[in-house]
Chain length 375, copies 2
Amino acid sequence: MFDFWIDGQSGAARSGSLTLPHGTVETPVFMPVGTQATVRTLSPHDLKSIGAQIVLANTYHLHVRPGEDVIAQLGGLHKFMAWERPLLTDSGGFQVFSLEGFRKVDEDGVEFQSHVDGGRRKLTPEKAIEIQATLGSDIAMAFDHVIPGGADEATARDALERTLRWLARCKKRHASLMGTQTLWPIIQGGTLPALRTECLDRVMELGPWTGIAIGGLSVGEPKDKMYATIDVLESRLPPTLPRYLMGVGFPQDLVAAVERGIDLFDCVAPTRGGRNGSAYTPEGTVNIRNAAYRTDDRPLDESCDCETCTTYSRGYLRHLFAAGELLGLRLLSLHNVRYLIRLAAEMRGAIQRGGDAFGNWAEDWRRRYQHTGVA
Amino acid sequence: MFDFWIDGQSGAARSGSLTLPHGTVETPVFMPVGTQATVRTLSPHDLKSIGAQIVLANTYHLHVRPGEDVIAQLGGLHKFMAWERPLLTDSGGFQVFSLEGFRKVDEDGVEFQSHVDGGRRKLTPEKAIEIQATLGSDIAMAFDHVIPGGADEATARDALERTLRWLARCKKRHASLMGTQTLWPIIQGGTLPALRTECLDRVMELGPWTGIAIGGLSVGEPKDKMYATIDVLESRLPPTLPRYLMGVGFPQDLVAAVERGIDLFDCVAPTRGGRNGSAYTPEGTVNIRNAAYRTDDRPLDESCDCETCTTYSRGYLRHLFAAGELLGLRLLSLHNVRYLIRLAAEMRGAIQRGGDAFGNWAEDWRRRYQHTGVA
């Protein structure tokens, strides 16, 4: 029920095939984020129409609403959200450490206040694993101690040690459940190279693992720090394991990370940006609310095959946003996710041509793509 | 490009086939409302998947935003909203007389304040016809003087006379444009039988027409007054013309009106109700927000073939509403519109069985359907 097979390489970039209980995922792959058991504005039918292979759902959000017990009674997360393809759940660590409100951290876990009903709840490594097992995702993530982007070394060291102790507890609880779900650890350590490599080494000592995630990036640090951190890890990451860069999803970051050997991504940017009128195109990000598009009869992205681009003019999409029509939010979300899925597929094709093919492709892609920083 | 053929009858109920420039519509038919060139939350693909044959769009709304000139530059309303099947546009009369804000009525027309930019604008019979011709709908509606539900006879008489004078001007302007669009008049007269029949007779004198609409009902009057008004008109309406009851769309009203010889309907209720969590079922209206549905694994409506009912549990739909997810609004809107389309198709089938078939069907339907008044 679990397998990862590398079927192409070009420089550090790799393409592969990841077999999970609910199907096989071709990498590099972008995972749309279904925070509350739905990728905002999109149906499973929409997601399949744009080639989504795997969706991420949030343990924290589903735990506080509707509760994993409700989802279990309704047949588990796949059936609940009518998504029969693979699912990855995060552990809730990122949410309990980043959401506003009361939070009390000790060695046992994190006590927090639900943003839904204000009630006090507690997540521990064991509890995070149990919830994810109840949800029934294909890949569960370890519960980690997440620190703010600019934390000092002492704080980072302390969080790292706790993350490693919690990882051992996650692993133990996960093993006792003996399900088909697999558990992936998360490498933390901020942008401090020594901490990152130490974390990786000590995580590997706790293995074996079927995959490995890099957390705590794209949280406000400069882009070059993010890329440098991936570079540091790249040479030490076991080549046979799938590598998941958490929370990263701007087009230029996907390209830079695949260039550095990353296989999986997730990010709310395409759907959040889409709801704000921001759309990815081969020439960069455009904001469809712009008056310049009022009578523009061109599609959003002439090279795109999604329903939005094959059906509507920019003028109509602009009208939907100007008029506050919900269809606009959906059509831009659909396109943006499709854009990242196509980008990943295009990178996969370039990687499989081998040699310098990916590097050449990436150079050409960057020449065309001008990031406007809007998304 | 215009034809109406009655192909079934049972009591006063009729089934027919209405041929328009963009296709043929089987009646009785429910028209979903695409106020701003989109049926709220639904795509044209969704609408086709649930068998929508004809959509209504609002002249007032499209005139103030984005403007008929923008729509014309983008290829006309059909192309703009990517709906290649028939379209009916209302004239804007109902909106300029019912929306809040400044309004000045004289013999020439209605000056009003745009709800979008606050600018003063004016609709006249000629202007309403010109806008609709520019939009390019299959059926245009006459610009009428609409009065509040409880208006006294003098007010109703005055509005009636003006509506008739305006109808003559609409007809003249429409004839001069010589397009493929057809123009339908609107019978007003409140719930006063004498005014209604007089209005009908005098409208017919201004003909010939290809169809006829009944306006000013379902605006707060008691149900029996509404049904009585349709009854009064039914015996005098020319049997060969399609009859459109404007703004009516609750399930029980559709059944009662078809029983009284009505062929076309439109209403925002299924989409507005859907966005509020209210759903039609064969047993009446349910509100999906109800905690009773928390772990309910049944579909919304077991007899329904729409994507919502064939894919999701009530428990999941309730979760989407509880979590404020936009997908919920869309899934309930989709189901509610499908419900009315299926209801119309079911009535059509009963009518075509002839004899007492429709009356028996309606009696049986009413026994099952308990209107809860939520929608």
